[in-house]
């Protein structure tokens, strides 16, 4: 069934189709429609889940993790300040190996207060071990929730699914809703190796000294590395059943491109439109869209960008005192690679500053005209 829905609804439908069993979430702009729709669904019986209406995001994730530990499929959603308040618990979900799925609406961090999009909230979680997937359409949002549970429960790690504030969260787009029974076929029941059960007594997460802590961390790293393959598999299988697939990254016209743009989130769609225009004008431009960001798709990035002469990375975020995060990560990924293109780093669209085809054009132009990479180019700064 095709339905017009905002990104927040797509997120909720994704959760519903995944038959989540416990939801614990707290409202925050621009995520509120998620808690509202899920409340509604739980209230009217459309969704057979328990909604814990917690008093903060810290509790939201703590409760979700608890529910996961009890052996149920748990879901939460938040944004910016709420995600930041969850930070300790994100580490927790990772260390506890509870495959909670968390929807995050990318919103700029305060102060000053802002409710507009920016990736600093989610990217600030890049060192916690939670998986991260950036979506560029509402369809992708809905589908990715389902895929996320598939992978998360396989490798026992939480997954954060990310969408841009307003550009997706509040934008109505057509979304194909798959049949529940197909989803059930794709996504089996959650069945963790250990759970809280008085008939099978275990303590979870007890004090672990230098003797074994290191090995447990190694297991997390192994799991998230395994997740690379699991994402590929889950996406392929999804494609077979539902006819849509997304990849860990997407290569848009990179094959013969002189300049490859690196994008994520909704900037991708705008860049795609712009690239089409530029190609009409005879310019060979391609796009590498990063979808799965954690685990970082090093192989794909090397494969695709390895063939580029010039790369222009567009970051709707900044790691202050360093550079854009995607920029940093792709440089790092390519460092020990055999082919190393020149890479320019652009900062754009922070705090909801609109990124339009003109913005993309300017980035392409500056990359064309320059022959020495620059690391921190602020596009559209009012001077």
């Amino acid at each position: 069934m095709r339905k017009l829905m905002m990104g927040n609804h797509a997120l909720s439908y994704g959760a519903k189709l995944s038959r989540v069993q416990v939801i614990a979430a707290y409202p925050i702009t621009p995520q509120t429609q998620v808690v509202e729709l899920l409340s509604e669904m739980c209230a009217n019986g459309e969704l057979d889940a328990k909604f814990v209406k917690v008093e903060s995001e810290h509790s939201a994730l703590a409760a979700s993790i608890g529910a996961s530990a009890a052996g149920t499929r748990a879901f939460t959603a938040t944004s910016s300040q709420g995600l930041a308040l969850m930070h300790e618990m994100i580490h927790w979900a990772v260390g506890a190996r509870t495959p909670v799925v968390l929807g995050n609406i990318n919103r700029a961090m305060a102060p000053p207060w802002s409710i507009w999009t920016e990736q600093n909230d989610s990217l600030s979680q890049r060192d916690t071990g939670i998986m991260q997937v950036y979506c560029e359409s509402n369809q992708e949002v809905q589908d990715t929730v389902i895929q996320s549970y598939k992978v998360a429960e396989k490798v026992l790690l939480p997954c954060m699914l990310v969408l841009d504030a307003f550009y997706l969260s509040h934008t109505y787009e057509p979304v194909d809703i798959p049949e529940q029974k197909l989803v059930d076929k794709y996504l089996p029941k959650f069945n963790p190796p250990y759970k809280l059960d008085p008939d099978d007594v275990h303590a979870f997460g007890g004090l672990t000294d230098a003797k074994w802590y290191y090995e447990l961390r190694y297991k997390i790293e192994s799991a998230i590395e395994r997740a690379r393959g699991e994402w590929r598999k889950a996406d392929d299988e999804f494609g077979e059943i539902f006819g849509r697939k997304y990849g860990l990254v997407e290569d848009y016209k990179c094959e013969d491109a002189d300049i490859m743009l690196v994008t994520s989130g909704t900037i991708t769609g705008t860049a795609r439109v712009t690239v089409d225009m530029l190609r009409d004008e005879g310019k060979k431009i391609g796009i590498l869209k990063i979808r799965v960001f954690r685990p970082f798709p090093t192989d794909e990035v090397r494969d695709i960008l390895g063939g580029a002469k010039k790369v222009a990375c567009i970051d709707r975020n900044i790691s202050f005192g360093q550079s854009g995060v995607f920029f940093e990560e792709i440089k790092s990924a390519l460092y020990n690679s055999s082919h190393r293109p020149q890479i320019w780093g652009y900062i754009a669209g922070l705090g909801g500053r609109d990124v339009t085809p003109d913005t993309i054009r300017e980035i392409v132009k500056r990359t064309e005209e320059s022959d020495k990479p620059q690391e921190l180019i602020w596009i559209g700064l009012k001077k």
Binding site: L4, S137, H170, Y172, T268, G352
Partner: protein
């Protein structure tokens, strides 16, 4: 691709109007994207909503700066907000007003249509008398002037999606469709 901007006040349902239009388009196998102004909406405060229409999926996600058409839900906004900002040449500007199009005090290279959406909404008892809800009526006028979508699918959508009084809303749209006056 056709781009439309709607002007209203917080609480008047401009976003719903644009969303219903998009739904109707979907029914016709077209593609649409509808979004509100990105920000805080306060009861009474002037607000805007947007609509993109295309025959193929719409991937781009940026704001609309040069709309093809503009819809004004509340006539009192006319002097308060720059409603013609970026409006394309020959675009429609559709105003909820009792007046005739040529009595509307806007100048520029575009076409004007009016409809007494307020009157129609009151007639069908949509919203209260003090605060009639005109969003379905005004849709009728947009359909009539731009033809971007068929009135049938619009009426069907209104019947399906109106949170209350679906039939009245559909009738209001229909009446507005019929009574729209153009230059």
């Amino acid at each position: 691709m056709i781009e439309v901007r709607l002007h209203g006040r917080g609480g008047q349902g401009s976003v719903v109007a644009s969303k219903m239009l998009a739904s109707a388009l979907l029914k016709e196998g077209k593609w649409a994207q509808s979004f509100p102004e990105f920000g805080v909406e306060r009861r009474g405060q002037p607000v805007t909503a947007f609509l993109r229409i295309d025959t193929k999926p719409i991937g781009a996600h940026y704001k609309i700066y040069k709309p093809d058409h503009v819809v004004i839900l509340d006539p009192t906004l006319l002097g308060q907000v720059n409603v013609t900002d970026g409006l394309k040449k020959e675009g429609w500007i559709i105003v909820n007003s009792e007046r005739a199009p040529d009595e509307i005090d806007i100048k520029g290279d575009f076409k004007i249509a009016t409809v007494d959406a307020t009157g129609i909404a009151i007639k069908y008892g949509i919203g209260s008398k003090a605060a009639p809800i005109v969003n379905t009526a005004i849709i009728g006028a947009l359909v009539k002037t731009t033809g971007c979508v068929g009135i049938k699918s619009v009426l069907q959508t209104i019947r399906e999606e109106s949170p209350s009084k679906p039939e009245e809303n559909a009738m209001a749209a229909k009446e507005a469709y019929e009574k729209t006056r153009t230059t």
